[in-house]
């Protein structure tokens, strides 16, 4: 059953349409991540769900109840903000318990829930501190604690980790994910970081300019991106794109020929113009491999593997190779391409072929 339902929801600020009508339904207990470049309307979508922003059109339902015009407080949601939004003059304990106190929850229940949340989040040593005496990671934990003690129907997160340093970010994303699993509460999580999206989500929604480009589980998104934008956005380093032709069961780049596996060749048949896409990490041997000659421009050793930044017929190509792969800047080199992992897109519509 769909737990959160957005039907034809749209948003304009004045004459600028930020979100054209958008449909999205979220299952009960699902961890859904909205991802996309900065300014694509992720925050706006989340804030409409929270009721902090009015909708310009459409309908929102949470748990089967129409909340399109309900106040944020009536929606039974909890939100974690990017800048923590803690009450600066209250201790950690009061921050977590404040909403319950306002709603007249009895003392015992408040204490029990605050204790439970602080145990879960490792906040016990800090309960009597003020937010300004906490580190960024601890503050964000308090914000999460404040959200989860309310036992809401839905958690909303707006880039909660982007103010933390890289190491802490990795730790916290696992923590949040595990916590959500344990509680089984539906969660909508906004981020611009595709790694965060891929690692945390049950389902990722990739947005561009207010439009959903693809909504799928992380593996599908990686293996079968619906279009060039998604293919380019998901994966790091990004996928290489080269204009090509498909003739006689092979991909023809300017003067190079890369044979396709037979079933792919049969599916695609002959095509004049296509965009050939291959991820750097798929430049590896396989049952259906081909050779690609490129002109190395720079070499970036990363340790476990090395990135070769090169050029094929005037197009930039990144290849991920073994650290011991013999390559020198300026001397053409031949890399192996796993043709079972090749992607093809229509050059005009950019849709997957």
């Amino acid at each position: 059953m769909a737990h959160v339902e957005m039907e034809q929801v749209s948003k304009s600020f004045g004459t600028a349409t930020v979100i054209p009508p958008l449909d999205l339904s979220i299952r009960d207990g699902e961890f859904l991540v909205l991802v996309g470049p900065s300014g694509c309307g992720k925050t706006t979508t989340l804030r409409m769900l929270a009721g902090l922003e009015t909708v310009s059109g459409g309908r929102i339902a949470i748990g089967g109840r129409d909340v399109t015009h309900a106040r944020p407080g009536e929606r039974d949601i909890a939100m974690v903000f990017q800048n923590y939004a803690l009450y600066p003059h209250m201790t950690v304990r009061d921050n977590i318990g404040y909403a319950m106190r306002v709603h007249g929850t009895d003392r015992g229940t408040i204490d029990a829930r605050v204790a439970e949340a602080s145990r879960l989040l490792g906040l016990e040593p800090y309960l009597d501190r003020k937010p300004r005496n906490l580190s960024g990671g601890q503050r964000q934990r308090v914000a999460i604690g404040r959200a989860l003690v309310r036992h809401p129907q839905v958690f909303l997160f707006d880039e909660p980790l982007s103010n933390l340093d890289a190491k802490l970010r990795v730790e916290m994303r696992t923590e949040i994910k595990l916590l959500q699993r344990r509680l089984g509460t539906t969660a909508v999580y906004v981020t611009h970081d595709q790694v965060e999206a891929m690692t945390m989500a049950d389902r990722v929604v990739v947005m561009r300019a207010g439009v959903i480009e693809q909504a799928a589980d992380p593996i599908t998104l990686y293996e079968r991106p619906a279009n060039r934008f998604v293919a380019n956005f998901i994966g790091s380093p990004a996928m290489n794109f080269l204009p090509a032709r498909i003739e006689r069961g092979a991909v023809h780049l300017v003067s190079q020929v890369l044979p396709l596996p037979p079933e792919e060749a049969a599916r695609l048949r002959e095509r004049g113009d296509v965009l050939f896409g291959i991820r750097p990490e798929h430049m590896r041997p396989s049952a259906h491999q081909a050779s690609l000659t490129l002109e190395p421009r720079a070499i970036e050793p990363l340790g476990p593997h090395t990135l070769v930044l090169g050029d094929v017929g005037g197009h930039r190509v990144t290849a991920q190779v073994d650290p011991r792969f013999p390559v020198q800047v300026g001397q053409p080199c031949v890399v192996t391409v796993d043709m079972t992992q090749a992607h093809f897109f229509d050059p005009v519509t950019e849709a997957r072929l």
Binding site: R71, A85, A99
Partner: protein, 295 residues
């Protein structure tokens, strides 16, 4: 220390002393001079040679009913007007901050009273509250209350003085509190909205405590300024009827420029200084207790 550094060290005196002497001359000298004068009798009319009398001036002041009366008047005017200014100012700042309908119109004009000279304000108020010609009494007449002796009945005169103070200085409080409100982090209030905290609780539990340090400062400034009130009183009531609205500063002025009793005036000024310091210290101590509860 070798001789070169010793010489360089000596240069510090060349930099320090001129500045120190200038400060001494222009700010401390008048104070010290006034303090010595306050221990003497010094009359200009009729001329009398200065004579050292010790603390006699101070003793006279403390024994005078007129002094205690002016002290009470000053305290009442200051405390009541500052309380009203703070409440009204906060309400207006909130209205402006939340763009209540009509706020934009008010936004353009609300600072005007603050820009007017207090004497000008007092002259306007004198006309407005004029017993026969003023519009307020026209209104009272229309309401069937009849003419009220606004400036000649002690309680009414105090009320008028407080009204004028509030009218002139509420914008100042509004301005500072509005700036404070606009600097508060918006996400905190959104978090409270999501947590279904009602408006009234949001104000008392979040807005008010977060603005408390600023409020303490604003009220402090207004208290100290309010204590010095003289111009409006001088123009509106001249301290009357009798001495019922005479403030400390006006009392000192009358001693100095009506009786030309310079020694007494100096002693009064110093008493006034002590009163302000005591008042301010007590206030700050109380305020600190309050803020420590929150901050």
């Amino acid at each position: 220390m070798n001789s070169a550094t010793a010489r360089r060290d000596g240069i510090k005196h060349a930099f320090l002393w001129p500045a120190f002497l200038v400060v001494l001359l222009i700010s401390l000298f008048p104070l010290i001079y006034a303090l010595t004068v306050s221990f003497q009798t010094m009359r200009i009319v009729p001329p009398m040679p200065p004579r050292f009398v010790g603390v006699q001036n101070y003793a006279e002041i403390l024994a005078s009913a007129r002094f205690w009366g002016s002290m009470w008047t000053t305290a009442v005017i200051t405390v009541l007007s500052v309380v009203l200014e703070y409440i009204l100012g906060f309400a207006l700042a909130l209205a402006l901050h939340h763009n209540v309908p009509g706020a934009s119109l008010y936004r353009v004009t609300f600072l005007l009273p603050m820009f007017l000279a207090p004497v000008g304000v007092a002259l306007i108020a004198r006309m407005v509250f004029h017993p026969y010609l003023g519009p307020v009494n026209d209104l009272m007449g229309a309401l069937g209350v009849g003419n009220l002796p606004f400036l000649t009945e002690p309680n009414l005169a105090m009320a008028v003085l407080i009204t004028v103070e509030v009218w002139q200085w509420t914008p100042f409080v509004t301005l500072l509190l509005l700036a404070g409100l606009q600097s508060l982090p918006g996400e905190v209030f959104e978090a409270a909205r999501v947590d279904n905290v009602p408006v009234w609780r949001r104000f008392w539990d979040i807005t008010f405590p977060m603005l408390l340090p600023l409020s303490v400062a604003v009220v402090f400034i207004r208290l100290i300024e309010g204590f010095k009130v003289i111009d409006t009183v001088f123009v509106l009531t001249g301290g009357g009827p009798g001495t019922s609205t005479e403030t400390l500063t006006l009392f000192a002025y009358n001693e100095g420029f009506k009786k030309f009793n310079i020694g007494m005036t100096s002693a009064l000024s110093f008493t006034f200084l002590v009163v302000v310091i005591v008042f301010g210290t007590v206030y700050l101590a109380l305020a600190q207790r309050l803020t420590r509860r929150y901050a």
